[in-house]
């Protein structure tokens, strides 16, 4: 019995490993291509490995005056940080109210929020464009940041979390004379840390990878995000594929690092949003 299960384990591992290698192959190709020179990329006599690892390509994309990855990283980082902080504060406040404050019309508002999950953001982009353009947020990073501050998923997830915290904690604090703001900020919210971390990671990833909003609102090249920078290299007349691949690699690395550090929270976040939500 034990012997066969060990053999099964080896076979399963081999099958999965082969599939996993096939899965990451395009990414391996991306990295190898980012280290070639232009001739090697299109060589008829094809070699997977570059004749020499040209790390210079990375130096080029990071320092290129026409489209610098440094600038794109700074813009994307700003957008991501401000989006995520706003997203968490707005969601936590609303979630706390839905879970722990008894106010008139709360169910109506909550149902409205839930119903809005059905509206694809793509269906509202035209009026948003019109509004942002008329109030001067066109070509402004805030046009990409602000819509991220409202997230029904985040409100819903945190509401579940606050609801799970015992009311005794609140009652005790109330007797000591604490108001809702104190209870929210000092007593309950610190307890929601696991949910907050999962939401942070999920929100970071979606802001970092955002494409449609920057494409519509950020037309000036000095405002380009990482996604837009990759697109710029792809469309550039010089057609240097190795630079496009270097830019693409640079966009993926931070997310992988973030994932490795937060793997546990990340997986739990997705799983709770999916299985229980």
């Amino acid at each position: 019995m034990k012997k066969t299960s060990k053999r099964g384990m080896v076979i399963r591992t081999i099958v999965l490993a082969v599939l996993a290698i096939a899965f990451v192959m395009p990414l391996v190709w991306m990295i190898l291509t980012s280290l070639k020179n232009t001739n090697e990329v299109f060589a008829v006599d094809y070699h997977w490995l570059p004749s020499k690892f040209r790390w210079d390509n990375y130096k080029t994309v990071w320092t290129n005056d026409s489209m610098s990855m440094t600038r794109a990283f700074a813009n994307t980082l700003f957008i991501t940080i401000v989006s995520v902080i706003g997203h968490l504060i707005v969601a936590a406040l609303a979630a706390y109210a839905f879970a722990k404050v008894d106010f008139k019309g709360k169910n109506v508002i909550f149902m409205l929020f839930l119903a809005s999950m059905m509206i694809p953001s793509q269906a509202t982009i035209i009026p948003r464009f019109m509004m942002f353009k008329s109030i001067g947020l066109y070509n402004n990073l805030w046009a990409v940041i602000l819509p991220g501050w409202f997230s029904t998923t985040a409100i819903f997830m945190l509401r579940q979390f606050y609801m799970g915290l015992p009311d005794d904690l609140m009652e005790a604090a109330k007797i000591d004379g604490a108001g809702h703001l104190r209870i929210f900020a000092q007593i309950l919210t610190p307890l929601t840390k696991p949910a907050m971390v999962s939401l942070t990671v999920l929100a970071c990833i979606s802001s970092w990878n955002e494409y449609l909003s920057p494409l519509i609102f950020l037309v000036k090249e000095n405002l380009y995000t990482v996604s837009m920078a990759i697109r710029w290299y792809m469309l550039d007349d010089s057609q240097r594929y190795e630079l496009t691949m270097a830019a693409a690699t640079c966009s993926i690395v931070p997310i992988i690092i973030l994932f490795l550090f937060s793997q546990k929270y990340f997986v739990e976040g997705i799983a709770t949003a999916g299985v229980k939500g």
Binding site: T13, A20, F23, A94, M118, Q263
Partner: protein
């Protein structure tokens, strides 16, 4: 009594204050734009002509949509993408999750490998696929080396140009579905399988009689979520088709985007957006209606 009323009023104020930021953003950036989109769908409006240029035209946009060839193509393509990618990726993810949930070596590394495409930048991945599927690209070189000849120019040939896009969409979807399935499989009580083992049930019987019904709510959730996102597909297609001669790949959202932001036909594009919303709503309701037949809670 008076005191109690004051307390109640105070609760109300606190509640509104806490919900206010979310409510304001919701009204300004979700509810109002949504209502305004519906209004615009009944107008003819070129954005460049300013607000004075808005002209009510009733159902004209929708009538034009019904005969518009590019729109019909985008609609058809979107359904093709959804049907080709959602069931395939979900099935593949389930198989992977099933294998990964058994004992394997290097479980975390393997799971990570399947997961990378999902968290990676869609634009980056689309450029990779676009380059790999060039006529002189690495995919054709590989196919040639194993004996194929007469290889297509994938993205330019209307017979083949959906294949790279479909592969890309499946590849990036699996990671998410895999994580959710793995969590769901772990929630199935072990003793169900032990009891089945004692009764002499085969592995396939165990899968169809225990695993499949137990994870059916998860499958349902994935079908709903995945179909919605398949109908909203944009980044991958926008990048894959940029600069290529063939325009046969448009999805509904790329079509809305090009009518709105290249042609500034805001009225027409809004009508397309309304149709997109109606389809997503319809498909989701259909799913909820159909779940009674196969989902066990």
């Amino acid at each position: 009594m008076k005191n109690r009323n004051r307390l109640k009023q105070n609760e109300n104020l606190v509640g509104y204050a806490f919900v206010m930021p979310a409510l304001v953003i919701f009204i300004v950036l979700v509810a109002f734009p949504f209502v305004f989109s519906i209004f615009l769908s009944f107008t003819d409006w070129n954005f460049l002509s300013g607000f004075k240029g808005i002209r009510l035209v009733g159902l004209e946009n929708f009538r034009n949509l019904a005969t518009d060839r590019t729109f019909k193509m985008a609609l058809k393509n979107t359904f093709i993408y959804a049907i080709a990618t959602v069931p395939t990726s979900i099935l593949f993810a389930l198989i992977l999750a099933f294998m990964l949930n058994n004992k394997v070596y290097m479980k975390k590394i393997l799971r990570f490998a399947f997961f990378i495409p999902y968290i990676s930048n869609a634009v980056a991945l689309a450029t990779v696929f676009k380059f790999m599927f060039r006529e002189d690209g690495v995919v054709n070189i590989l196919l040639q080396s194993i004996g194929f000849s007469n290889l297509p120019n994938w993205m330019a040939d209307t017979q083949f140009n959906k294949i790279p896009i479909i592969l890309l969409l499946i590849w990036t979807a699996i990671g998410y579905e895999l994580i959710i399935y793995m969590a769901a499989l772990q929630n199935i009580p072990r003793d169900l399988y032990e009891a089945a083992d004692l009764d002499g049930a085969t592995a396939i019987q165990q899968f169809t009689k225990i695993t499949f019904p137990m994870i059916s709510p998860t499958t349902f959730y994935l079908v709903v979520v995945r179909l919605i996102s398949a109908f909203k597909v944009f980044s991958s297609i926008n990048i894959m088709t940029l600069g290529t001669a063939a325009r046969g790949n448009a999805s509904m959202v790329t079509e809305i985007y090009s009518n709105a932001f290249s042609g500034y036909k805001f009225g027409f594009a809004s009508a397309e957006a309304v149709v997109l919303f109606a389809i997503i709503l319809g498909v989701t309701l259909l799913n909820f209606w159909g779940q009674k037949k196969w989902v066990h809670y």
